[in-house]
Symmetry: C2
Subunit: 213 residues, 2 copies
DNA sequence: CAGATTACTAACCGTGCGGTAGAAAATACA
DNA sequence: TGTATTTTCTACCGCACGGTTAGTAATCTG
């Protein structure tokens, strides 16, 4: 019999996973993150995963219902780790500082975890890309929420459009992260600071130069 | 005999392509752009290209040395069209207006040519992504040059770092374009304007709020 | 120790891939 | 017209893919 199918939609009384089961799953997730980071999504075949884990293909499919489930689980684990870190940083602040913490912590995390970064980039392009996927607006919405809160707190000008600004900010962050990935000499930390500075100058209330002379 | 191998590194006295040859090439490039836009790079197989063009696989490979050459050629044609448009817009201006023309024209072009946009996105992720490709720094350099010129012209503050700013600006543009691709209701034109406004406030010389009270 | 369950392997299957071979149409040219 | 060349087709090759099957170790449990 096949073990628990913990990919999605778990019902309550799931039998506690065996020690072996948990260890294998963790190992498979680990090697998968590694493989995706090094060879990309398409280059990560079932055979490669099995080989990297030192077991047969069938053994991999014994622990997961499909190759895709392995990759999705690995991605979920990476994403959870990231959101946990960034979430904590953001939650500890409010207003403009929360937005700035978002920028800084996201760039910092991805600088310190290039494998995770590559995995996320690969996964993103799956879900974005071609299919008319509604394209998880969650990230945009989250950032838009932060910006909206900062505006409500008086840190940002009333004219700031949270949605549009969120798109721009996320894009800028992604570009900084990508650049760092391509060129390890790129100073992503100071780039993040530069972005923070730009946001202060362009969104902040302090010097109104156009609509209120 | 196989016809001219015009993929790359063409030597001078290339025999003028046949009418048939040119027509087929154009057609193949066309359907390839379409296929890549609709089904992505991996979903664009030789058989699909052939089927879409109404000929056999072998016929495709008669006109191009490999499937990859077809796709690369299609990509090159798209890229040429884009750079021609944006290049003209930018070249007609100088200083900050050139930077702003870059932002506006790039967003506008990609809004008007979603197929081209999807193709470029797909191609980008090939060259970026995994392999330690030096990742064509040409775009960043080009934009950095524009920013540097704007700074030299006195439009931008001396403290502005062209390289970092270029990365941020390109990232913001890409995000706007992607958002528009995912959500046709997204007003990418006004988003571009918002970005231009942000750049003016954060890079412009007019109101120095920090280093020169 | 015996039986059940867990964890695995080797071999295989069907599919789609890029690409090739050789012959046959279509076309150009004398 | 006949011949040469350009263009195309059908059929095939080898390969890597995700996944399945049947059997077998290994481990737990009474």
């Amino acid at each position: 019999m096949q073990p628990n199918d913990a990919s999605t939609a778990q019902v309550r009384p799931t039998k506690p996973l065996t020690i072996t089961e948990r260890a294998r799953r963790a190992q498979l997730i680990g090697v998968t993150i590694d493989l995706v980071a090094r060879h990309g999504y398409p280059g990560t075949s079932l055979a490669r995963i099995a080989e990297a884990a030192g077991i047969s293909k069938a053994a991999v499919l014994y622990h997961f219902p499909s190759k895709d489930a392995v990759v999705r689980t690995a991605y979920a684990s990476v994403l959870e780790s990231l959101t946990e870190y960034v979430g904590a940083e953001v939650a500890a602040r409010s207003g403009a500082p929360a937005v700035e913490a978002y920028v800084r912590s996201l760039v910092a995390y991805l600088r310190d975890h290039p494998d995770h970064t590559r995995m996320i980039v690969e996964a993103l392009r799956e879900e974005t890309g071609i299919g008319d996927t509604p394209n998880a607006p969650s990230r945009r919405e989250a950032v838009a929420g932060l910006i909206d809160a900062a505006r409500a707190a008086g840190d940002y000008r009333p004219g700031v459009d949270p949605q549009t600004t969120a798109v721009i900010v996320n894009g800028a962050i992604d570009a900084i992260v990508s650049e760092r990935l391509a060129d390890p000499d790129f100073d992503s930390r100071s780039a993040a600071e530069e972005l923070v500075g730009m946001l202060r100058r362009s969104l902040g209330t302090a010097p109104r130069d156009t609509d209120n002379p």
